[in-house]
């Protein structure tokens, strides 16, 4: 994406929707275009590749139903606030929980192809240093730590992450620092091992 391509701020879309200058559907579409890649990124890291597409639809269905009756407290009516992104982060977290629950109930009777074509984000991840870190985090850190890491990387506030995970803000910051510490060691060992 070029430097000149500035995405519209969430605030502008929400304001237009709230004051009626943009319809529910048009504003939803703008938010989808703006945030769907972030949602896919979060999902790609937290669930199996074959499940990303389905969960993406679930997350945006849940958001659409809320968006129709969206209410925004006055204190969030600032250009910096991103309540929609925070809502999507929470919904991704809940969709992941629901997915694991459904998996336990139904999935053993179904089979999935590991070489599913809908693994684009996964392939992208593998091309970046981030991919190594996330892969390391997935295998060595708890699900909560991975959620904190990916939330922080996407700019979700510690407060919103804490509310989503039902832990304290202090715990979010503490666990994030710990995870970064682990990743620093991982990056150093990768570098000293000559990997790219």
């Amino acid at each position: 994406m070029g430097d000149g391509q500035q995405l519209p701020l969430e605030h502008g879309i929400v304001s237009a929707r709230m004051c009626g200058t943009m319809s529910v559907d048009a504003s939803f579409e703008r938010l989808y275009r703006m945030y769907a890649p972030v949602v896919i990124g979060w999902l790609a890291i937290r669930v199996e590749p074959h499940a990303v597409d389905d969960l993406l639809q679930d997350v945006w269905t849940v958001f659409y139903r809320r968006w129709r009756a969206w209410q925004q407290p006055a204190e969030l009516d600032t250009p910096e606030a991103r309540p929609v992104l925070s809502f999507l982060f929470r919904t991704v977290h809940l969709a992941t929980k629901a997915h694991h629950r459904a998996w336990r109930v139904h999935e053993p009777i179904e089979e999935h192809h590991l070489a599913d074509e809908r693994t684009t984000p996964q392939r992208l991840v593998e091309t970046l240093a981030l991919g190594q870190c996330l892969e390391f985090a997935k295998t060595h850190c708890s699900e909560v730590d991975v959620a904190i890491l990916t939330g922080k990387l996407a700019g979700i506030s510690a407060r919103d992450i804490a509310r989503t995970l039902e832990i304290s803000e202090g715990a979010v910051d503490h666990r994030y620092r710990n995870t970064l510490g682990h990743l620093r060691q991982q990056l150093q060992s990768v570098k000293s091992g000559g990997s790219t």
Binding site: M1, Y32, R33, A36, P37, V38, V39, I40, G41, D53, L55, L56, Q57, D58, W60, T61, V62, Y64, R65, A69, Q71, E75, R90, T91, L94, A95, K97, A98, H99, R101, A102, V105, H106, T120, P121, L124, V125, L128, A129, L130, G131, C133, T150, L153, A154, R163, T164, E166, R177, L180, G181, L183, R184, L187, Q188
Partner: protein, 204 residues
């Protein structure tokens, strides 16, 4: 030596690069699944929990929130509808409509039913009432994964009808009952938050 801040910055840069390379599907299917309904109820429960955990909540439980109910009474009202809608959803899951009716006045809704159910819970502790909301939410969520999607979406007469027309019950599906519950409870959640701000000020 790589510092944590450096790792943080490097990862954020990589994350932005990663996301910028993702193309979202052009066509999005908005469709109801057990998962979307489960999420709606879980999200609701999380909002309640955030409220229940607030330092002020238990301290003002016996204060009047409207002309006739205390905050604890209001929680009892929420619990009674959580139990009722779950019970009606179980009947719908069996493939039939609900065979009884709660009558709604045009103004004020099901006043006598509401009063009776709150009264039934009056001797309970706030924690017990909250526990009932938690349990009923989980039971409703469990039900969502126990029935197939067509059954979740099939509409039947439910156990609510206008007082003026008892022969014309509302028609809803299980998914519709989930939506009713969310709308009802969000209404009360928002009213509690407004009440708290007006009375005690500050944030939650």
């Amino acid at each position: 030596m790589t510092s944590r801040n450096h790792v943080d910055t490097e990862l954020q840069h990589d994350w932005q690069r990663f996301v910028s390379q993702i193309t979202a599907p052009a066509n999005l299917a908005i469709r109801i699944t057990p998962a979307t309904l489960w999420i709606a109820l879980e999200d609701l429960l999380m909002e309640w929990r955030a409220l229940w955990r607030s330092e002020w909540f238990a301290a003002v439980k016996d204060q009047l929130i409207n002309s006739k109910w205390t905050l604890k009474d209001l929680m009892a009202h929420v619990a009674s509808w959580a139990a009722e809608l779950r019970a009606q959803a179980e009947i719908l899951a069996g493939g039939t409509g609900v065979g009884y009716q709660i009558l709604f006045d045009e103004i004020g809704g099901p006043r006598s039913w509401n009063a009776e159910k709150v009264e039934m819970r009056r001797s309970r502790l706030l924690e017990e009432v909250i526990g009932e909301i938690e349990r009923e939410t989980v039971r409703f969520q469990d039900l969502l994964f126990d029935v197939d999607i067509p059954r979740l979406l099939t509409e039947h007469p439910i156990g609510i009808a206008p007082t003026a027309a008892p022969g014309q019950p509302w028609i809803r599906s299980i998914a519709g009952l989930v939506e009713m519950r969310c709308i009802h409870e969000r209404h009360h959640l928002n009213r509690i938050i407004e009440w708290k701000r007006a009375k005690l000020g500050g944030d939650l």
